[in-house]
């Protein structure tokens, strides 16, 4: 509200005019009745001191399915994962239309229903899938079985096209011939063996891979349904799967997180109670009507302002404290082009199990991919809220030492260390990437050029007292041999660059 000043002054020797009092009192009372504006409020002291109601800025919505492929204990991994005591896996059906991801045993859909005003959603989603041959469940999927898996975000039934992990249109631009190769036959025909073959390049083709999607979206008033959806894009013949052989895909760890940045929230509080009775003609002036119930009443209100006294949307960023706590970031970007090889470490210890089979991702010369919040750690007892951790690690190569094989699995996850020095390996964050893009002609052809996305969301209320004191969060690497031997073979994992970042939204609890 613009600045206002006393419209009239009372003067000695003048007859008391009720209008003088009334206009003056109403100017103040009107301002206190929900009209204190951004110009009326000093920003600096408010920003430094004021409290914010829980979830006043943001709220969060989170669903995670922690599902174990059960690789370690199984003699044949694909049998082993069925019925393990974690969250159910989700079968990714052969369907070329976008489908919700639903639990195999319960049918529960990975979705969030969020009631909003005119807000902004920031949507994070992650999924880990593994594919195997239909006809032979013990047979790890062949690289010859491109599964063309696509994931996308969907809000209120509408797929956000620009989040799809692949080509939105299929078939994509037809194969093209880039060059004339010399004839390898006795004819003068071009050697079409080397025509570029881009069929099936419409979706993720790894047998085992993880993906993460991030998208911002402004939403209107109402309740909104947010889903992570998938589809199996058909080949050019519009048949799903490859050559009638086909693969079955299953999603294990999967997560959906929505941060709602509040916009035009509706007012749910009471009305301001600033009432000053009018002074009437003929009324005797009293201490009550010229002071106690007017000036003094408004003074007391001004000295103890409530939200109801302040105009809607009056507080700008200059007035408001940050509710972000414990932001940190770290990265490894080796100066050398040589990736860091992990070769002499033990096998994958199991889903969410700590052990020597985990090695902290590092740059090869002593710098680990980890964050410590500047060395002071995170105190989630004093700063309760939702912690979000995001990381990427470049996967340069995963292979047997001497051969290329898709049965080699690189595993990555996040882990945190608490106040007692106990490290917790987060099974729900585990992702698995198989060897792919091998070259049988030139062994060791590198890189495979992949990247592993990681994500952890945790409500501090779900942590134990000790775990609320976090000293370190790190990216871990492990390996597994998915071949028939099911032992930790001489699988070699090479990584290179990576980053990890975190932030805590105080007083936000999904």
């Amino acid at each position: 509200m613009p600045h206002t000043f006393p419209p009239r002054r009372i003067r000695s020797g003048e007859p008391a005019d009720p209008d003088v009092f009334n206009e003056t009192f109403q100017a103040v009372a009107g301002k206190l009745s929900g009209k204190l504006g951004e110009q009326d409020i000093d920003a600096a002291t408010l920003k430094a001191n004021v409290s914010v109601v829980d979830e006043g800025y943001y709220d969060a919505h989170h669903i995670v399915k922690a599902s174990d492929p059960y690789w370690v204990a199984s003699a044949t991994w694909i049998v082993g994962f069925i019925g393990v005591p974690q969250d159910p896996y989700a079968i990714l059906q052969d369907n070329a239309s976008w489908q919700p991801m639903s639990d195999a045993s319960t049918g529960d859909v990975l979705e969030l229903n969020i009631t909003s005003t005119e807000d902004t959603f920031v949507i994070f989603a992650q999924a880990q899938y593994i594919a195997y041959n239909y006809g032979n469940p013990a047979d790890y999927p062949s690289i010859g079985d491109p599964i063309r898996m696509q994931f996308a975000l969907q809000v209120d039934g509408v797929t956000l096209d620009d989040t799809a992990t692949g080509a939105l249109f299929y078939p994509d631009t037809p194969p093209q011939q880039w060059y004339r190769a010399a004839s390898a036959s006795s004819t003068d025909e071009f050697d079409y063996r080397h025509i570029q073959y881009i069929q099936n390049t419409v979706g993720m083709n790894n047998a085992s891979n993880a993906t993460r999607l991030i998208r911002a979206l402004p939403v209107a008033d109402g309740t909104h349904n947010v889903r992570l959806v998938y589809r199996r894009v058909p080949r050019n013949n519009y048949e799903v799967d490859n050559d009638g052989k086909g693969v079955q895909a299953v999603a294990f760890n999967r997560r959906l997180f929505v941060l709602r940045i509040k916009g035009n929230s509706s007012y749910a509080g009471g009305a301001p109670s600033v009432e000053v009775a009018a002074v009437e003609d003929g009324q005797t002036l009293s201490l009550s009507n010229v002071f106690t119930n007017s000036l003094e009443s408004m003074r007391q209100t001004t000295n103890a302002l409530l939200p109801a006294n302040i105009e809607r949307s009056a507080l700008r960023n200059e007035h408001l404290p940050s509710l972000v706590y414990g932001s940190d970031v770290a990265y490894i970007a080796p100066a050398s082009s040589v990736p860091v090889a992990f070769v002499a470490f033990s096998a994958y210890p199991g889903y969410g199990v700590d052990g020597v089979g985990w090695t902290t991702a590092n740059n090869g010369v002593g710098t680990n991919l980890e964050i410590t919040n500047g060395g002071v750690g995170w105190d989630l007892s004093a700063n309760p809220g939702t912690m979000i951790v995001l990381a990427n690690i470049q996967l340069w190569k995963v292979n047997f030492a001497a051969t290329e094989d898709i049965d080699c699995i690189a595993i990555a996850t996040l882990a945190f260390t608490n106040s007692l020095g106990t490290r917790t390996v987060l099974g729900e964050c585990e992702v698995y990437v198989n060897g792919h893009n091998p070259n049988p002609v030139v062994t060791g052809m590198e890189p495979i050029g992949d990247d592993i996305p990681l994500m952890w969301v945790v409500d501090s209320a779900s942590l134990s007292a000790n775990d609320k004191q976090i000293s370190k969060i790190e990216v871990l690497i492990s390996r597994w041999d998915a071949s028939a031997a099911h032992v930790a073979n001489n699988v070699e994992v090479k990584t290179q660059r990576g980053m990890i970042t975190s932030f805590v939204l105080r007083d936000v609890h999904p």
């Binding site: 000043f5 109601v53 390049t201 991030i214 103890a304 302002l305 507080l315 940050s322 893009n437 970042t501």
Partner: protein, 271 residues
């Protein structure tokens, strides 16, 4: 501003003093009058002890921003074919970049660039005399992607080297008479991140008020197939090959390509 304490308090039976009454309404001295406080000098001590900022008091967009942009059509990025055009630059990928206004300093900002891509990364010059166009296999330079911030600042930790195109038949077998240069096994989806945080140093320093641009760029280096571009063989290969085909042999070595499919850039900034 401290709580208000009036200079003048009338009493019953006494004559009302206009000057005192007027000063209680307004005077320049802080903490003495209603209008002086309410006209821009309301401070934290004036708030009720139980005061908490509620959502409806907040101007929309003043606790955080989030923007996204994306494209769904495929777009190809090529290397330079000719030695004289060996311009090895990162090229921003349309649809995976975003320019936006930053209305105030952000305590935390997350930049996300997502892209699905395949690559055509030829390696080895053809050797027609041997009947095998790929008889001599030499490493081609890596094609790269990398996030950038601003006009020139590449973010090294987001750099990713893309795979070579594999030589398989459609069933994953070793090369045979049906060999193709199979791109379907180089399909990758990337979701790369960059963060800017108050109090951190470059490249993670605070995202401050103003305008910002970030995104994903591709670097498709010229494929010299391991040859010295100043060498005789390399120069010869730039000569048109003959009457049966007017296209230059340098096509053999020049082409490298990234095909970007659906892509997206998202930024989230928090007060």
């Amino acid at each position: 501003m401290p709580d208000i304490t009036f200079d003048y308090i009338p009493t019953t039976g006494a004559v009302l003093q206009p000057d005192g009454f007027n000063r209680d309404l307004y005077q320049q001295t802080s903490g003495k009058s209603l209008f002086e406080t309410l006209n821009g000098n309301v401070t934290y001590p004036n708030l009720n002890a139980a005061f908490e900022v509620e959502s409806h008091l907040i101007r929309p967009g003043h606790t955080g921003i989030a923007r996204s942009d994306g494209r769904v059509f495929s777009a190809d990025y090529f290397s330079d074919l000719w030695a004289g055009l060996n311009n090895d630059f990162y090229t921003p990928v349309g649809g995976a970049c975003l320019s936006f206004r930053v209305p105030y300093d952000m305590s935390y900002a997350l930049f996300s660039a997502s892209v699905f891509l395949t690559v055509w990364r030829q390696f080895g010059p053809p050797d027609p005399s041997a009947g095998d166009p790929f008889d001599t296999r030499l490493d081609a330079p890596n094609i790269r992607i990398q996030m950038f911030y601003g006009d020139t600042n590449g973010i090294a930790y987001t750099r990713r080297e893309l795979p070579q195109t594999v030589f398989f038949d459609n069933n994953g077998a070793a090369p045979d008479a049906d060999v193709g240069m199979v791109e379907q096994y180089t399909c990758h989806h990337y979701n790369l991140l960059h963060a800017k945080i108050a109090g951190k140093s470059a490249p993670n320093q605070q995202l401050t008020k103003g305008y910002a641009t970030f995104g994903l760029a591709v670097y498709v280096s010229q494929n010299l197939n391991g040859q010295n571009p100043a060498g005789t063989d390399y120069q010869l290969n730039l000569i048109l090959s003959g009457a049966d085909d007017a296209r230059p042999d340098s096509y053999y070595k020049g082409v490298q390509r990234v095909r970007t499919y659906v892509r997206n850039a998202t930024v989230m900034g928090l007060l």
